[in-house]
Amino acid sequence: MHLVGHHFRQEWKQRHAFFGLVLYCAATIFIAYLAFRNSIDTVTWNALFWIIMLFASVNALAKSFLSESRGRQLYYYSLVSAPVFYLSKLFYGIILMLVLSIISLIIFSALNGTPSWNFTSYFISMITGITGLAITLTMISAITSRSGSHTSMMAILGFPVLIPMLIIIIKASAKAMDGFSIAAMPKDFILLLSLMVMATALSYILFPYIWRD
């Protein structure tokens, strides 16, 4: 828990990076708005939003491991055990992405207009989906940083793994756009939650293997 707090203090010291991410999202959304001009239907609205969130999360979570210097990683290594460190990064990543996605949703619906959606339902599926993306990409980010490559590698490794999750998320949120409540789509949520649990468990078990160098 201390470590999560530490990550946030660290983030606040480099707040330009966070504002950079917000700007990145805002600019992408603005470009999408200009490209589509108000001819956007609900399916496109939903797909577009998730594609933007996908790219934003790859960029945001790449930082969670790639930005740490070697020396500092060694320092963490001597301080805490691998699973604890992993969990702190995971919580940090999830919270970062939730904040970013809420800001994006506000900008996105302000520009492109809000469809006649079931807002609670959409919001819940967005929160769940973003958490799922954050869980998967945190692990991918750790793998990428250890392989010594750059952010582009993260997209190459992450996108194929994310496909199953993204399909379910987009399906669930599309249903929410059509006005369904969460209770009306239990299958999607059970599948999504089980994917998230599995991804977390796997990362938790596998993280120590990539953490020691």
């Binding site: 998967t136 392989s147 490559s149 190459i156 194929p160 793994v161 199953p164 991804a199």
Partner: protein, 220 residues
Amino acid sequence: MKLQWWKILAILLLAYTIVAGFLTDVPRLAILHESIRNLYFHVTMWFTMIIVMLISLIYGIKYLGSQKAEHDIVAEETAKTGVVFGILGLITGSVWAKFTWGAWWVNDAKLNGAAATLLVYFAYLFLRSSIEDSEKRARISAVYSIFAYSMMIVFIMILPRLTDSLHPGNGGNPGFNTYDLDNTMRIVFYPAIIGWTLLALWIAEVRVRIHKLRLKQDEK
């Protein structure tokens, strides 16, 4: 060089598959017609790929436990063999789809799952090629393959069963009973699976041997 018994078995089974696959009677079904024979070649490719990839995964896990370079070599070469069979499965499936469904590719959970799986393994091979240090490469790629394979299995096994699709074995109908029920087809189909799998193992085994020899040569 003496052939091991299972290699002889592979040759015999595949010869049988090709001869019997083209010559035996098949049920006459609308739309499918003679293209139903593709069952022996297309479906078996995916079975083979899944089996070979599973071996790759097991050796990945074994590597994390043992740190033996040998396990990593097996994991890499089986993954490569699996990719080849996956591509063959994609091509045979695509041709089949063109003549039965009228398009090279349809938007279908099973087809997309297959494409995603191949993407994952291309990413895996790409990751391998980008890391210089062999010990580190083995460790990181083993972690990636375990992570990716588990996510994919959910995708291929569970997701298609929840959605309706053109592809047999979906939308609630279990397996491919719709046209595999015919017993004359079964007696070719099952040996075909074993034959293709043995061939894949053979290819992988030769590749592993070459890989080890190359390592030995480098050491000198």
